[in-house]
Symmetry: C2
Subunit: 199 residues, 2 copies
């Protein structure tokens, strides 16, 4: 049993994985939780491609690294703290994500949903997936950089034209315990009745 | 203490609220949980406008109803089961959402994040918010229909041009206990290594 708020408060992007494999039933529990997220019209347009195959995983990581080298790093370098930039660099380019035994490509089936509803119908499921990973002692990371090379990503996992990748989530046991997430307090982001009135 | 997986498996859109008010500390707990979601570059671009004022809440519901009447209902009518259509109709047009004592407009601060990263940076927080509501005995619903009238919605809660509404979440105690959510099994949505290979 995992306390809900303890799980929520501990979630943090994992960028360094142990090579320990994952049983199907652990993955199933995480994906089952993902499907309990809401979706517009309850259309459940989520598609999960669970990649274990080492060669295909390497191709996914190569593609992420190409996206990082093609502009991701430069874009991030002007925006992130040195520590966070080093963490992200390590995950994408330093082998951190590559050690994860499983990579899940999460996509939207556009035959099941109106394109405008994709974000509100897919990212809640991705978040459930990441929280369920946390509750199961696993690490995960919500990444989207690989989706900027959409055609190559689709080819890598054989997505048909009607299925559009939204996120790529490495999954596995953390190489080491993760510290607490760094967050600003909610009150600074919250307004009362109208924008500009402090909470 | 709420078990994580029990909360996840019980989440369901609430479309009929009791008028019972909510204390600030209950709202704070839910919003605090929202801010522990991941966001691209840890930018935390979420903005929450917590609307309690009855007149402003009524205006938000009027706007949702206008969006429903302007095309939402016709679009949904050809797609939803009769039961789900009646539920949604009741929530938007039948007064179900109007009884909620609090409506939270969730927006993205585009000065804090690249526009392309908004969905992956906002909807995980919205999902945390809805799950935390469930864990607290509250009902909620992830709605986006009001955002189709973006300019009017921004005016209603004084959003500046740089802050873009993404979702509107009614929050309160359910008028009656909700049944379990209806979901297809995850396996039918899951593929092994590449699309088309069954889990």
């Amino acid at each position: 049993m995992s306390d809900f708020f303890t799980v929520v408060h501990a979630q943090r992007a994992c960028r360094d994985f142990a090579p320990t494999g994952l049983d199907d039933d652990v993955i199933a529990r995480v994906l089952d939780a993902a499907t309990f997220a809401p979706s517009a019209e309850n259309r459940q347009p989520w598609v999960f491609v669970v990649v274990r195959d080492a060669a295909r995983r390497a191709q996914l990581h190569d593609l992420a690294q190409r996206a990082w080298d093609a502009g991701g790093r430069d874009f991030a370098a002007g925006r992130l703290s040195a520590g966070l930039l080093a963490d992200v660099e390590h995950g994408i380019a330093g082998g951190g994500y590559r050690a994860a035994p499983v990579v899940i490509v999460v996509a939207a089936d556009t035959k099941r949903c109106h394109p405008a509803t994709i974000p509100a119908s897919i990212f809640p499921a991705v978040q459930n997936l990441c929280l369920a990973a946390q509750a199961s002692g696993l690490g995960s990371a919500l990444t989207t950089i690989t989706t900027t090379f959409a055609a190559e990503l689709a080819t890598l996992v054989d997505l048909p034209d009607t299925v559009v990748a939204q996120a790529v989530v490495p999954l596995g046991y953390p190489a080491r315990p993760l510290g607490p997430p760094r967050r600003e307090g909610f009150a600074g982001h919250t307004h009362r009745d109208r924008f500009g009135v402090p909470w």
